[in-house]
Symmetry: C2
Subunit: 104 residues, 2 copies
DNA sequence: ATGGAATACATCATATCACGAGGTATATAT
DNA sequence: ATATATACCTCGTGATATGATGTATTCCAT
């Protein structure tokens, strides 16, 4: 997918990946794989940004003797997803505009 | 609409605005207005970029004693629109992923 | 006739952001 | 032993939307 198109989708996708249950970096990438690919460097940049925007919170927990950082979505994060749904309607209009055939 | 989301749509929208007939800066902005807003500085940046990518060609013509730059879509430009249609299918999948309700 | 809006083009500086390259460390399978 | 998977992180770079700003002409209302 075009890099510029991804830009608008990645943040929301990451939020979507943790909306049903807390998750951690490596798992988020795997869960998103069928829909959109992203590298670790990209993901951690996004997680930091979403944390700064208070759309998720972080907690560190031990798992099999190794530390993991678990991310949990906040109300602001859920609002971002709702806003995206509204933006989708606008995008659908744009799609129609772009694919409009010649009206002879 | 979210700035990042616009990024991926603007180029294709500008191409869509000239796909049926040649157009010029001011008119492109007006035609796109119902679907997506963009400033003149943004538009001219995009037109330059699309010209560099050979997705459109430019010609200068006089209109009412004033010079206008008319933009015409190329085959590469039409291909970009076709590619977008394919990307739309991916985006629809992503939309489903994001809006997926809890599966109890 | 004068002033302001609309038309029409353009440049520059800034802030945001995806991503490759690189780094650290442990667990598990071959 | 060694390779692969898991798990985290930082930095530099290139791409790009946008506001601010500038130039110039035409049209319309007062």
């Amino acid at each position: 997918m075009d890099v510029q198109l991804k830009r608008g989708l990645l943040d929301v996708c990451v939020l979507a990946a943790i909306q049903h249950e807390d998750s951690y970096g490596y798992k988020i990438i795997k869960d998103m794989k069928p829909y959109i690919l992203l590298s670790e460097s990209t993901l951690y940049t996004i997680l930091k940004r979403l944390e700064g925007a208070k759309m998720l919170t972080v907690r560190t927990a031990e798992h099999d003797g190794r530390l993991r950082k678990y991310y949990r979505i906040t109300d602001a994060g859920r609002k971002r997803i709702r806003d995206f749904k509204e933006e989708w309607a606008e995008m659908t209009k744009i799609y129609c505009f772009v694919t409009e055939e010649d009206k002879k």
